[in-house]
């Protein structure tokens, strides 16, 4: 919703400067940040971790930590400078006309109080309404944020609601007093894709129902594309570009913004058509800021002038501002990754004849036997059916993507294949041998051919070992090179993952998340295994770091022809990287096929919903709008029949509830487990309908 012509912005930030005092000196976290937010408009602040966006957000509320100093600037909220107000005055504004919503709804709400009590508290603090009116207003608000059965929810405790519902309650809390400005700090990070989509819908909806200005802070460009009208990109504490969402995504002018957008794989290109273009280098640490332009060390357009002069924000046609000396040159260049970037290499071609891994009927249950006292008291054994009948076939040199939301069993599947968890039932055939047993019982030769890259970069490396030792050990054990050449081989691996030789003596605490993950990748590939399983290796990394680690992974995989099983909840990454894709839901596979087949009809209804929900960094995309009600059922008690029937928008009747869906296969091997006949599924319209010029609003009616 564009600003309705109101002359005065409801929030105006002028030259804000915030500095933190730390043991090692002063850190200028926010430098000269200026922006405006009008009534009814949504302004997005985008940046990676450490860019200062959260600090700026807290400064808007006048709520900074004790070691923070406001060095300069003003925050004009409704004409008055927030930074000069006393604490008492601020207390009457906060929650009232200036509200904030944080990332984790579980910790925003007090677990000891009912939802209704917490909502009422907001009204009681700032307004003088009668109890009845308070109650009515709360119910109305819960309704406006699409909470079903508001009266019941008012009586519930936070732990009884799902993540998506909680976040909506929190958003409702923020809007209760009809604030002039609502600040949202990454409200959907940590939610599942389908849940995130409905919360984002709610947020967009609110812009029509309320005329609050919204400041939306995120590192996720795709989410910003969906929710915001105007965007400010931050880098190392500065705003480097401000433009409408349309302009920023289709023609970014600042090289950093360009790099950032090029980093995100949309659904346009995959690895065969174009490689991702990452941004080289790292964000400068607070004590090593370059003298000229802060982005200059990493900039492909940099010249000597950029080293000396620190550019200021300059206005460019159309009301945009850019902080770059060479923006005209940048405007003529290309954005990589949109399909017309350079082809950097050739990918490995899957060998359709040989299978590296064949899994049939795999079941992996976690059993929780009660102690003898428990069984005396009548407690039953709890069984989480994490993986319940999965079959897959991975060809040599291929990349298999396993997609699903939290609780679908993909991590358990990975751990079972690799041997960290013992399977309950089923067969796993790897390189011709049946390995369906725990790690300790597998033959050594098999162990060397199967490796894993883990999710959390902070615990994937031994903090007490140097990179030298970390990489040296698998090389020593596997004997792919003679002992004398191990050091040389380590150097080669470091070069392959784009790390300097000096990293050999470093410990994990001296490296960033992306660097640690690269060492983990090198460690996994060092013994030249046949199959590497990657369990969401980049999900906790920043956008640009994600991109470069993915590039590294793909480069190495192609160079060595290793087969890869890549587990993720991010469909766009999987689209870029994988040859084959499996979609999992609650322990079972819904759909399996090549990348092309999965992203086109026929779809499994769940895949369709995922495709519709995944945020894409393109504000002009037209998609069918399919939203799933509720949340993923608990794996302790999965629904009978088809597991998806409780949320399926295409449920056909009782058969979905009682019988397991048959697996329907097309001629090319594309398999869908659904009761709906294949012909009907083929006749569905594609989810992604195309691109338009104007930013797309809420789409055509759902299915």
């Amino acid at each position: 919703m564009k600003s309705d012509g109101a002359a005065q912005p409801v929030l105006r930030v002028e030259d804000l400067q915030v500095t933190y005092e730390t043991r090692r000196g002063d850190v200028r976290a926010v430098r000269d940040v200026s922006f405006e937010v009008f009534q009814g408009e949504s302004f997005g602040l985008v940046g990676e971790s450490g860019c200062g966006k959260s600090t700026a957000a807290f400064a808007l509320m006048g709520y900074l930590s004790r070691n923070a100093r406001i060095e300069g600037g003003r925050v004009l909220f409704q004409g008055e400078n927030v930074l000069e107000r006393t604490e008492r005055e601020l207390q009457s504004i906060r929650g009232n006309s200036l509200a904030m919503i944080y990332q984790d709804p579980m910790s925003t709400l007090n677990p000891s109080f009912r939802i209704g009590d917490q909502l009422r508290e907001v009204l009681a603090t700032h307004t003088r309404t009668s109890d009845e009116e308070t109650y009515t207003r709360c119910i109305e608000m819960l309704d406006k944020v699409h909470i079903p059965d508001p009266a019941r929810v008012m009586e519930r405790y936070p732990h009884q609601l799902s993540g998506g519902q909680l976040q909506r309650v929190v958003i409702g809390m923020g809007l209760l007093c009809n604030p002039a400005v609502l600040i949202m700090d990454e409200p959907t990070t940590g939610l599942d894709v389908t849940v995130e989509a409905s919360v984002l819908d709610t947020i967009r909806d609110l812009r029509q129902k309320f005329d609050s200005g919204i400041v939306y802070i995120s590192h996720n460009l795709s989410v910003i594309a969906r929710v915001c009208d105007r965007v400010g990109v931050m880098y190392a504490g500065e705003l480097v570009e401000k433009a409408t969402v349309h302009d920023i995504f289709l023609n970014p002018l600042h090289p950093y913004a360009r790099g950032l957008i090029g980093c995100v794989p949309g659904f346009t290109a995959d690895k065969h058509s174009a490689m991702l273009c990452s941004i080289p280098g790292r964000v400068p640490s607070a004590h090593e800021m370059p003298p000229g332009c802060l982005f200059e060390p990493r900039c492909p357009y940099a010249t000597d002038a950029c080293k000396e002069e620190h550019p200021s924000l300059r206005e460019v046609d159309g009301g945009r501002t850019v902080r770059c000396l060479r923006w005209e040159t940048v405007a003529e260049g290309q954005i990589c990754g949109t399909g017309d970037g350079p082809k950097a290499f050739t990918c490995a071609v899957p060998d359709y004849e040989t299978s590296v891994l064949e899994v049939s009927g795999l079941r992996s249950y976690y059993r929780d036997k009660p102690s003898w006292i428990g069984s005396l008291l009548g407690k039953e054994e709890k069984c989480v059916k994490a993986v319940d009948g999965v079959s897959l076939n991975l060809k040599s040199h291929a990349v298999l993507g396993i997609v699903g939301e939290s609780g679908c069993g993909k991590s358990t599947l990975a751990k079972t294949i690799v041997g960290l968890v013992s399977p309950t039932d089923g067969k796993i055939e790897f390189l011709g041998e049946d390995i369906a047993r725990a790690l300790e019982k597998r033959p050594r030769e098999i162990l060397e051919e199967l490796r894993m890259v883990f999710q959390n970069p902070n615990s994937t490396l031994n903090p007490m070992q140097t990179v030298d030792e970390i990489l040296g050990r698998p090389l020593k054990l596997s004997r792919v090179v003679p002992r004398s050449e191990i050091k040389e081989e380590i150097r080669r691996w470091l070069a392959a993952v784009n790390l300097d030789e000096s990293y050999m003596d470093r410990k994990p605490r001296q490296m960033s998340g992306g660097e640690k993950q690269r060492v983990a990748i090198a460690r996994a590939f060092a013994s030249r295994p046949e199959l590497v399983i990657c369990d969401e290796p980049v999900s906790s990394l920043d956008v640009s770091v994600k991109c470069s680690v993915l590039k590294t992974l793909l480069t190495i995989q192609s160079a060595h022809g290793t087969s890869l099983a890549y587990i993720s909840h991010d469909l766009s990454v999987v689209h870029f990287l994988c040859d084959y894709i499996l979609v999992m839901y609650l322990g079972r596979i819904c759909e399996a096929g090549t990348c092309r087949e999965i992203f086109r009809p026929p779809y499994h209804p769940y895949t369709e919903a995922l495709l519709s929900a995944v945020p894409v960094p393109d504000p002009t995309i037209h998609r069918k709008r399919i939203r799933l009600e509720g949340s993923v059922p608990s794996a302790l008690n999965p629904p009978r029949g088809c597991r998806f029937h409780t949320r399926c928008p295409r449920k056909i009747g009782m058969v979905c509830e009682t019988e397991q869906p048959p697996v329907r296969e097309t001629k090319s091997g594309h398999a869908i487990a659904c009761h709906i006949p294949l012909a009907d599924l083929e006749a569905i319209e594609p989810v992604i309908m195309g691109r338009g010029e104007a930013p797309a609003e809420s789409q055509a009616a759902s299915v």
Binding site: C277, R282, R298, C299, P300, M464, S502, K551, S558
Partner: protein, 308 residues
């Protein structure tokens, strides 16, 4: 196949970026020093509390080393009047047998400073082995070991020491054994809980995937990551051990006579505390100061290790 660092762009030039810089020299020296001393322990110089504690302990260590030089009289010789109050000849007076209290005090620092760390070292060694085994294998092994240690911990410590020493006799070795027995369960517990945490981290899974033996995983992967809290705990225990040695000496279960032992000195002078307080005050102060110093040192290290 690999990209050169700094050139994977689509644009004109590549800016002035160096391939990810190696850390500077000073930074490397600091890191090396930290690595040398298990990382965390090296921070002890940052805490004021630790400095004070260390100062006190070092004071006694120097005294122990230089005792032959500093002591005015041989510790076991009857040199002067019996039960003489402090005087220029005997700065701290003499005891019931006419031995110089100062000299006995100086020499008495030796057993306590040798036995306390040694016994804790034995406790730590035993505790690490038991804690690692228990935490890593879990299940029955864990249950059995923990229950045995629980049984040991159920004894009041002093009673335990007394029982052991009464059984095997009083000597330096037996004091070490007794205190090691007393300290092992606590350390084993600390190690076990650390192992339970570290065991689930991904680098341990990666080691399992490589087919490493349990022995390797326990001692080379898990143990180095547990050492921080264990070192802190051990330092605290040295303080307790010093106190225990003093108490054992007091009860007559410590070092055999006539060698000086602070605890025994207090015991011998106890009955004459009103007529000859110097025989009790100085050794008591000595024990207290050493224990306080050790505790401060342990606190300081603990404080620093939490700040990381």
């Amino acid at each position: 196949m690999a990209d050169q660092p700094g050139t994977d762009t689509a644009g004109v030039g590549s800016g002035s970026l160096q391939p990810t810089q190696s850390p500077g020299f000073v930074h490397r020296v600091r890191e090396g020093w930290r690595t040398l001393a298990f990382g965390r322990v090296a921070y002890l110089l940052e805490s004021g509390v630790a400095k004070v504690g260390l100062g006190i302990v070092l004071f006694w260590v120097i005294i122990a080393i230089l005792a032959p030089v500093l002591a005015p009289y041989p510790p076991n010789d009857t040199t002067g009047a019996f039960k003489a109050p402090p005087s220029p000849a005997h700065i701290m007076g003499t005891d019931l047998l006419g031995r110089d209290v100062l000299s006995r005090l100086l020499y008495g620092s030796r057993p306590i400073l040798v036995l306390a760390p040694l016994s804790v070292l034995c406790a730590v060694a035993a505790g690490i082995v038991l804690g690692l085994t228990s935490g890593y294998f879990g299940g029955r092994v864990d249950d059995v070991i923990m229950r045995l240690l629980d049984a040991l911990m159920a004894f009041p410590t002093l009673l335990l020491y007394m029982v052991i020493i009464a059984a095997v006799g009083a000597s330096a070795l037996n004091v070490i054994i007794a205190i090691a027995f007393g300290g092992t369960p606590g350390i084993a517990r600390v190690v076990r809980s650390l192992v339970l945490d570290v065991r689930n981290r991904e680098f341990v899974q990666a080691a399992r995937l490589r087919g490493e033996s349990p022995f390797y995983i326990m001692f080379r992967e898990i143990l180095p990551n547990c050492m921080g809290p264990v070192v802190v705990d051990a330092c605290l225990r040295i303080g307790y051990a010093a106190f225990a040695i003093g108490t054992l000496g007091f009860l007559g279960l410590g070092m055999p006579p006539p060698d000086p032992d602070w605890g025994r000195m207090v015991a011998e002078g106890r009955q004459h505390i009103t007529s000859g307080p110097w025989m009790v005050i100085f050794p008591s102060l000595a024990i207290s100061s050493l224990v306080v110093g050790l505790n401060l040192f342990a606190d300081g290290i603990s404080e620093s290790s939490h700040r990381i």
